[in-house]
Symmetry: C2
């Protein structure tokens, strides 16, 4: 399903037909850039994610015969040139992409992705580019905050049931892992992407059995070393005492409701008094970076967190609002930068590069410049070629590489960027040349 | 991808292995119910959605050989009984489902879905049931509010680019249509589900051409009667005047930024003065029920709305928080209701029915009762059998039927339920028998 060429908006097809009808599929190469105009609420940074799945999508992008016949029946395309449907039948994506590596912290007005392709191709893939990158970047950005809050304690992503469908669950698990989560409960993500899998037990396991202790013992016997006993089906403290009285030594227990600070201390004390010092306590239940930071600040004896809804839906900022804007047109060899001037929605023209300026290992500012400008002193470019004329450029990073990259790049940001309650904005500046270009066009 | 049996949480598989190891795959039939404990913020009602796609998923649910081999390599399942993997290889879903029809308004604590199946089966499908119904119900509930706000003007769903991936875009378009949207921009949803497709043009169409007027004329020539000209690439009012001066008579134009109330009046006046009284004005740009209700209240001359992000992400309530709870266990023929007693997360035991009590055509209250209780006077049951022993029950409603059903059922709710700013809660009461059952168990 995700590889269908019809996974796009109708106007992409009508505009494609228009480019075809006016000969621009041959004459015109377009460059679009994908960026967020502003950071969402409660976000000091974004973590770029979704690129590799989007490249997979592009590589497989074809119109099947059935797709083309369906489009031929669509009333809006009734007057499209008949040849246009033959063009679709032959279609494959031959564009060149530059992108910020997954796991990189990025900010408002910085292109995460730049696509240069014959204009109908670049137009067609807008919807998918945004659907992949907006969502997965949102999740990675939220997950990074939760991981920061957990201050070294592992965070497991448990959110499939609250994700926006099963595909969203898959990509959310992937994005959360890039951003530093230690694993996921979602089997398909574990198997497809090699993310460590983690699971506990549900209340139904306890409720369906004859009694709580039997449920615990059965699970422990079946999954020695892996069983995480869920304590709150009836009463968390009573369940902890039950475990001790029965002489069990579970690897871990999970608290899923109530006052997690108080309960974790009470359970820890019960276990420690009984010599169960190595039994870990995991906490879950509508957690987010605020509640986790609070538990950490109180030094609650919680050894790890299971976080679902807040990460997989990026609950306080569920839509990134990234846009995909035409910035340059090359028609019959002649290049011109283009920009919108709509109030509040203006854009910067031309193909760009984002430079991160580091001083003594710490990022001090980013500069958005024309691609052709020389590197500013001490600056590293964020955009790299990842696909050339439809073919992926090797080597592709592994998911573990992207996760490590994310940690390293976040660590080199100034501390105020990682401050979850912070309000200081990391400086992102247009180059002089870019600023002058915008000003000269806006006043004409 | 959505039909994978691995699209589930690890603990569903470990619990399945546990049920298998203890013989309960043969001895025990479980009933789970899916419901929301409370309404999300800003919601007076939910619109049930996602059922038919979930039934499709269940019908196709199988473990491939590759799936089973992947599970055999998973460390958490290392001690699962070897026979368990043969059981998975033979697996198909044979359960019975009762559900509220898609498009029905529902409230907190009302089961939308009830699954009765051998316990490992009912357990396995929890993740998918929640991922399908939580998300699609969220979108339908939000879309219904937007449609109410539009007060008869058509609302087109345009949100694919902000949906949580391409599959989410597909099901969001479907849920929005059930809730009363007039169509979608997402081609795959149009073709797969028969939803009317709608599209306009993007700013890139204007920016990529030589000038705005040529862009408009080319589009109008190619898509006569379908072209919707986008006015705000440079200046909305100037673009309207350009159209008039050129003697064009477009079917419709779209305003996408700025003060939509003022601009729609200005554009309307320009068009009316030039005899373009039949050119419709569509508005878009981060609209939701609040901004639409405001435009409608001001009598802004807007003929239709394009709404994206707010609908497809249910932006102010992106996670429904529906849960899937074990309510009854039948073991070797002996039936018992079960309930959690965790603080704030307690459940009502037993298989239930939801009754909607109507007086003179208006719903006055819902009663949640044991399935075996007789019908209250004047009451209609909301839960119906939709799948029996793994086979769908005919006839399945068409999407158009579900949309009509939604409109009719919403219309019979009392007016305060449809009041977007309302705070009065529609009464949902447990039956006496249910109440007594909960009280007697909670005090033991």
């Amino acid at each position: 399903m995700p590889a269908s060429a019809l996974s796009t908006d109708l106007y992409q097809l009508t505009m494609m037909a228009g480019y075809f009808a006016t000969g621009r599929h041959l004459s015109t190469t377009a460059t679009f850039e994908l960026f967020a105009r502003r950071l969402p609420p409660n976000r000091q940074f974004l973590i770029a994610a979704g690129l590799e799945p989007f490249l997979d999508y592009l590589e497989r992008l074809r119109f099947t015969g059935e797709d083309v016949r369906a489009l031929q029946r669509e009333p809006a395309l009734a007057k499209a040139p008949p040849d246009f449907f033959g063009y679709l039948q032959q279609f494959s994506f031959t564009g060149t992409l530059r992108a910020v590596p997954e796991g990189t912290p990025v900010f408002a007005n910085e292109p995460l992705l730049q696509i240069t392709a014959p204009i109908p191709q670049a137009q067609l893939v807008e919807t998918a580019a945004l659907a992949f990158l907006n969502f997965q970047t949102s999740v990675a950005s939220k997950a990074a905050r939760v991981v920061i809050a957990a201050a070294g304690r592992p965070v497991m992503e448990f959110g499939a049931r609250r994700a926006h469908g099963l595909e969203a669950a898959l990509f959310a698990a992937r994005a959360a892992f890039i951003a530093g989560c230690a694993g996921t409960s979602y089997i398909e993500a574990g198997i497809r992407f090699g993310i460590p899998l983690s699971g506990t037990m549900a209340h139904s396991w306890v409720l369906s059995g004859t009694d709580e202790l039997t449920a615990f013992k059965d699970y422990e016997r079946l999954f020695p070393g892996h069983a995480v006993l869920l304590l709150d089906t009836y009463d968390t403290v009573a369940a902890a005492k039950l475990i001790v009285r029965a002489g069990m030594t579970p690897a871990a227990v999970r608290l899923d409701s109530g006052n997690l600070d108080a309960l974790s201390r009470e359970v820890r004390a019960i276990f420690d008094a009984a010599g169960l010092g190595s039994t870990r306590i995991l906490a879950s239940g509508d957690l987010d970076e605020t509640s986790i930071a609070d538990l950490v600040a109180r030094a609650a004896p919680v050894d790890g967190f299971g976080v679902g809804t807040s990460i997989v839906t990026s609950i306080d900022a569920p839509a990134l609002g990234g846009v995909y804007k035409l910035v340059e047109v090359e028609e019959n060899g002649k290049i011109r930068g283009v920009m919108k001037t709509s109030p509040g929605k203006g854009t910067w023209p031309g193909k760009k590069q984002v430079w991160r300026v580091l001083q003594r290992g710490t990022a001090v500012q980013d500069i958005v410049a024309f691609e052709t400008e020389p590197a500013p002193a001490g600056a590293t470019p964020l955009l790299r070629v990842v696909m050339r004329e439809g073919a992926r450029v090797d080597p592709q990073p592994s998911l573990a590489d992207s996760r490590e990259w994310c940690g390293a790049r976040l660590a080199e940001m100034p501390a105020f960027v990682r401050d979850l309650a912070g309000s200081e904005a990391y400086p992102v500046r247009p180059s002089e040349a870019l600023k002058q270009s915008v000003e000269s066009r806006s006043t004409t």
